[in-house]
Symmetry: C2
Amino acid sequence: MRNIKITLEYDGRRYAGWQIQPKNQTAKRQTIQESIEKTLQKILQEKIKVIGSGRTDAGVHALAQVANFKTHSKIPLEKLQKALNALLPEDMVVNKIEEVGPDFHARFQAKSKLYRYTILNRRYPSVFLRHYAYFYPYPLDVNLMRKEAQYLVGRHNFKSFYTSDKKIRNPVRTIKYIKIKNNKGLITIDIEADGFLYNMARNIVGTLLEIGRGRFPQGSMKKILLAKDRTKAGPTVPAGGLCLIRVNY
Amino acid sequence: MRNIKITLEYDGRRYAGWQIQPKNQTAKRQTIQESIEKTLQKILQEKIKVIGSGRTDAGVHALAQVANFKTHSKIPLEKLQKALNALLPEDMVVNKIEEVGPDFHARFQAKSKLYRYTILNRRYPSVFLRHYAYFYPYPLDVNLMRKEAQYLVGRHNFKSFYTSDKKIRNPVRTIKYIKIKNNKGLITIDIEADGFLYNMARNIVGTLLEIGRGRFPQGSMKKILLAKDRTKAGPTVPAGGLCLIRVNY
């Protein structure tokens, strides 16, 4: 059996996320995983199980999601990549394909992930970014957002930023860094962590926006983190602004 | 009467271009101009005629199309911009709005226009650029394209690059510059001219690609220009790669 690692770019808009989640079992939107498995099965003519580095939620995009699968097929990799890109829907592209050792596991071996949330902070929206950035026309104190974000860096219980999905999970994660850039109102918030709880990135950004807008006072982030209470944090910002940028192994 | 100048960004995909052209009279797709006039009339409650700097063809995008219209309304500009952006479809945004002198005319006073054509030149497509760049996976000699493009700069008869729309037009235009940039396979071709004939930018790019790919030999551009014959030039590249970047007054 060959073990194949693929790197995937996708526009999450049409999808119910990477994988069917319990509460989505009745949803009619396809998942990314289903779409890739179906296409691989068509090409390779065998049952394929694709393992992703982790779930991306419904509507979230990816620049470089990583997945792997095992196959008996001897098809050359370049040919397989071309066939995939010809048969996958146009909102999904395989950027890279490589053969890896039999032990490589896209989920278990992922060391960290980098997510980027993009905000368009100006008075009028953008046509070309409308599906990829959250239009937020209110004045923001970006420096204060940067300072407050630093309280989240390190190993913490992130229960305050975790939208419960009814499974009991260990809410402790390690955030390696949070970097906030502002390029003439196009604000990107990069968060690298060893793992993300359900909606964690979007709840952190929603809280940062409340702080930046002055609705939560300076010092709020520390208090919210320590409260371990989801109701203390800000709202979940829309999925379209979020993109999985990189998975580190 | 106030004379109002607006700067517009739009995603051309859903539209039959700026203005209904003779051959599109039966088309069902709306035009940009219709969409703006309808929205302005709804807000201002009077008949409005919008003058664009020029037509953009069906499917072509704009980052900063310029238009003007006259109105009796005394509505503050900021309020009008907000109302427009709230009521226009989400693939159309008013970036800027200003009051200009009674003589300003978006078409007659346009001195030059800058169009950008974007090509994605690598082995696999891009999800996020799929509607805004022409995916062209064949190797290109970009330096040769740059050299050949220079034959078009200046005042010339561009009949070879003009898809006839059955109106007799003067085919002489002045190209101020053509700048070709290549950023890791993302190629942009900027063309600034005092005016563009129907499909002129896309026919120039189609010809440059034939040269870059080696299907037209070095020296072709000069011969094609002098031939004044559309059949000698390359094909019309897809509309989605083209964007009106700026109109100079």
